[in-house]
């Protein structure tokens, strides 16, 4: 296993204010450290407002941690600049549907990141986009389509294609399945598993669907109030949760599953 991402005790404070005269409300994240190997899936679980999404934002560079650093390990050490990071770490957003620009065709949505981040020519870019579309199970013709012409599942695939187009090493997904229907969700899960196997992608996956987390992740990070409270392999954590928050999350899920089986 080759490590590709190393997060060294990052910290960040999020300050919000309800009104001009009301006191500031602070949310402190961290220190958080973890590492990710190639071809591995790490899941971040936790209750709402525990800081899961902030970790994702820090990983892709949308927020800058105050302390600590995020190192992307690479063979041809280009340096840790933001351009390199954009190429190596890509994100799938929670509502992929809303993250696609309705006024642009799928082709131009996928073209932009290539234009900015690579030195491919027009024809090569076109070729690359079409190859990526096929890779995620769409057709070459979808290049000319617009968002509204695609179904939910297809839009999710476009979001995935946009993440894959720069040949990243790591994909960060914030609740990628929450808005999807069961059958489309299974398709997307399968697609992600397949791509991970083929391309050796590292996958940071944020979700509160314990069933899916258990299925696709290798390791779990349980976050509560901005701190990592439990960490370990998925099987271990779910078989023997140590912290109260984890226990509550896991047991409430298994209670539901048990009730399901008692019906059979």
């Amino acid at each position: 296993m080759k490590p590709i991402l190393d997060v060294k005790s990052i910290e960040y404070t999020y300050v919000s204010r309800r009104g001009f005269f009301s006191p500031e409300q602070k949310f402190h994240l961290g220190p958080i450290s973890f590492h990710l190997n190639a071809g591995e899936t790490i899941a971040i679980v936790g209750n709402n407002g525990s800081g899961k999404s902030l970790i994702a934002k820090a990983l892709v560079g949308a927020i800058k941690p105050e302390k600590g650093e995020i190192v992307i390990l690479d063979d041809d050490d280009i340096g840790q600049n933001s351009k390199f990071r954009t190429r190596a770490v890509r994100m799938i957003l929670q509502h992929s549907v809303n993250s696609l620009n309705p006024a642009l065709s799928i082709g131009s949505i996928l073209n932009k990141p290539l234009q900015i981040n690579s030195d491919l020519g027009v024809d090569q870019r076109r070729e690359k986009i079409e190859r990526t579309l096929v890779q995620v199970g769409l057709l070459r013709e979808h290049y000319h389509f617009y968002r509204h012409m695609l179904s939910d599942g297809q839009q999710q695939r476009v979001a995935l294609a946009r993440a894959l187009i720069l040949d990243p090493k790591i994909i960060v997904a914030d609740e990628p399945f929450a808005a999807l229907d069961p059958s489309v969700r299974s398709q997307t899960v399968n697609l992600i598993l397949k791509l991970q196997k083929e391309l050796g992608l590292g996958f940071v996956f944020i979700s509160h669907n314990i069933g899916i987390v258990r299925h696709i992740s290798d390791r779990v990070l349980v976050v509560d109030r901005g701190k990592v409270i439990e960490e370990g392999s998925t099987q271990e954590v779910f078989a023997n949760p140590q912290q109260a928050v984890t226990q509550k999350l896991v047991y409430s899920h298994f209670n539901l599953v048990e009730k399901h089986f008692s019906q059979m």
Partner: protein, 340 residues
């Protein structure tokens, strides 16, 4: 007798140049004290059914039904004011996306107070009445499991977490002491801890108050842990309905089977990171509905007969609409031809 009885409900959407049949002969019953789950993916017409029941239909939608009865009275033939009365007092709806269903410009206290019908206030003078309303509002919040009511009463919807606003929506629905609660996708996007709380609350209401619940969702885990019966919808057609137990044990329709298989938690012997069972393709849009059985193009067992819509049949209160049901290989060919 069934509390709510819907038979062959079809809903047409007029788009200007064509009329789309969004619901195709859906039947549904809800008995007293029953929790029925209405299962289907988005675009399957779950919310259309809910809107047909409550009568909130835009002018370009029209419904045709053999009957939509509430306690034996036809909701369709009812006068406008009578229907409003029934909707106000007997049937309550908890809508999708609680944070946007609540009024953003009014605080929670006022919203709950407004939802309490005047009949329940028996004090004489206005200051007493206002006080009583407030007390009722607080006790409603306690009923749905919100203990620190003071924290939420003066807040506005955007300041409240989703799961709490979901509970507030339920509290407002319960204010009129309804007989039927329609919960439209109440557990969507919740983590398992809050989901369990909401489910426990609904189960408790069902047991203590004999509240009949129509639970609309596609979260199978939530459904199977709580409901007694379920109706599975696909693209506006009922594909299967019956007791949850028998549907789980022996799903007869390929779609029900695929739906159950899609949840990884339900399969004990599933290796981590192995591919999940999934139907090919996606749900067709309303403009491009296939003829006959609408699952046809995606169905693994589809044959030539499937271009004709199957007639619902039943075995021991387990209704299904499929020409080639699973687990039942020996449906008599002759029997099938009669229906064709």
């Amino acid at each position: 007798m069934a509390l709510l009885d819907i038979k062959n409900l079809s809903l047409y959407i007029d788009t200007g140049n064509e009329s789309i049949k969004a619901l195709d002969k859906v039947s549904l019953t809800l008995d007293e004290g029953e929790i029925r789950a209405l299962v289907g993916e988005s675009g399957s017409g779950k919310s259309l059914i809910v809107r047909s029941i409550i009568g909130a239909l835009p002018s370009n939608w029209s419904i045709k039904a053999d009957r939509i009865n509430y306690k034996g009275q036809s909701l369709l033939g009812m006068s406008r004011s009578k229907r409003r009365e029934v909707m106000r007092r007997e049937i309550a709806v908890v809508f999708q996306e609680p944070t946007s269903a609540l009024d953003p410009s009014v605080n929670i206290k006022e919203q709950i107070k407004e939802s309490i019908p005047p009949e329940l206030i028996d004090k004489k003078w206005f200051w007493q009445r206002s006080k009583q309303r407030e007390q009722l509002a607080i006790s409603l919040l306690h009923k749905v499991g919100i203990k620190n009511h003071q924290r939420y009463l003066d807040s506005y919807p955007h300041e409240i977490p989703t799961d709490v606003s979901q509970k507030i929506m339920i509290a407002m629905a319960l204010a009129s002491e309804p007989k039927i609660l329609i919960a439209d996708d109440s557990t969507r996007g919740m983590e398992s801890t809050t989901k369990t709380q909401i489910l426990r609350l609904l189960t408790k209401l069902n047991k203590t108050k004999k509240l009949a619940i129509l639970f609309v969702s596609h979260d199978l885990l939530a459904i199977t842990s709580m409901s007694h019966t379920m109706t599975v919808l696909y693209c506006g057609q009922t594909v299967e309905s019956g007791k949850v137990k028998s549907l789980l044990k022996r799903p007869l329709h390929p779609y029900t089977k695929a739906l159950l298989d899609s949840a990884p938690s339900f399969q004990v012997s599933l290796a981590p990171k192995s591919p999940l069972v999934a139907l090919e393709g996606t749900i067709p849009t309303l403009q491009h509905l296939p003829t006959g059985c609408r699952l046809g193009p995606r169905c693994p067992n589809a044959k030539k007969d499937c271009v004709i819509a199957p007639v619902p049949r039943n075995i021991q209160e387990h209704y299904y609409s499929c020409h080639f049901p699973l687990h039942l290989p020996n449906v008599k060919k002759a029997d099938r031809e009669v229906h064709l």
